[in-house]
C-alpha cells in the first residue's frame, strides 16, 4: 500500500492524502491517474517526491513508498 500526499492547490482539490496501491507504477503513470481522478489542474508543473526526496517521472514506485505531489514552491 502507498500513501499519496497533496499540497497547496492539489490539497484543496484532493484532500490531504489518500492510500492506494501504486507499487509497480512509474511516477508518471501514478500522476496521470491521480490527476484524472481528482481533475487536478496544472499537473505538468507538479514535481514528485518519493520518501521525501525528489523523484523523476520514470522512477518505479515500491510498496510502502510515501509519494508526495509538489506544486511549484513559493516559500521564503
Amino acid at each position: 500500500m502507498n500513501k499519496i500526499m497533496f499540497f497547496a492547490h492539489l490539497r484543496d482539490a484532493a484532500g490531504e492524502f489518500i492510500n492506494m496501491e501504486a507499487a509497480g507504477k512509474t511516477v508518471a503513470q501514478l500522476k496521470a491517474e491521480v490527476a484524472e481522478k481528482y481533475s487536478l489542474q496544472n499537473i505538468e508543473t507538479v514535481m514528485t517526491a518519493i520518501n521525501e526526496e525528489f523523484a523523476g517521472n520514470e522512477e518505479i514506485i515500491q510498496d510502502g513508498d510515501v509519494i508526495a505531489f509538489i506544486p511549484p514552491v513559493s516559500g521564503g
Binding site: T45, E53, G75
Partner: protein
C-alpha cells in the same frame, strides 16, 4: 536544530545565536516579511503550508551546500507556517562566515534555493479572492518531473 519549520512566531535573535562562532567576524540575516502590496494588489494576509519533514531535509541540504561552497560558514534557517499578517516574519536565514563578502553571498544562495527546492507554499488572501502562489522563479516546467542535477539531494 539549525533548520526548522515553526508554527509559532520566529525569534530572530535565537536564529542568529545558532550561527555565532569565535572564528566568524560577520553574520548576515535575511528576514522575509509579509508585504502588503505585490504588483499593486493589496494582500490581506497569507497562509503558508509546508511538507514539513521534507522541508526540513531540504533546508539541511541548503546548509550543507553553504558549508561546502563557503568554507567556515555556518547557517541556520527557520521558516514559519500557518496564517501570517502584514509585516509578520515568514523566514529567517542567518549565516556566519570569517569574512563579510561570503556572508552576503552564502545568505543569498540560501533564499534563492528556498524558492527552488523547499516544499513550502503560500496562499495569498486578497479582498476579492485567494490563490496558492507558485512558480516565483518562473521556472515553471520541470520536463523530467523533478528539478535537474544540482536541485537533487546529492
Amino acid at each position: 536544530m539549525n533548520f526548522e519549520i515553526s508554527k509559532e512566531p520566529i525569534n530572530i535573535q535565537s536564529v542568529i545565536d545558532k550561527v555565532i562562532q569565535r572564528e566568524a567576524g560577520a553574520i548576515t540575516t535575511f528576514i522575509g516579511t509579509v508585504r502588503e502590496l505585490t504588483y499593486g494588489k493589496k494582500t490581506l494576509f497569507l497562509e503558508y503550508q509546508a511538507y514539513e519533514a521534507m522541508a526540513v531535509k531540504k533546508l539541511e541540504q541548503i546548509g550543507r551546500e553553504i558549508e561546502e561552497r563557503w568554507p567556515g560558514a555556518k547557517s541556520a534557517i527557520t521558516h514559519r507556517v500557518g496564517r501570517l499578517d502584514i509585516t509578520d516574519v515568514a523566514v529567517v536565514i542567518a549565516v556566519s562566515t570569517p569574512h563579510r563578502a561570503d556572508a552576503y553571498d552564502a545568505n543569498r544562495h540560501a533564499i534563492e534555493r528556498i524558492k527552488e527546492i523547499v516544499p513550502i507554499w503560500k496562499k495569498e488572501h486578497w479582498e476579492d479572492g485567494e490563490e496558492w502562489i507558485g512558480n516565483q522563479k518562473e521556472t515553471l516546467a520541470y520536463p523530467g518531473g523533478k528539478p535537474e542535477g544540482k536541485d537533487l539531494n546529492e
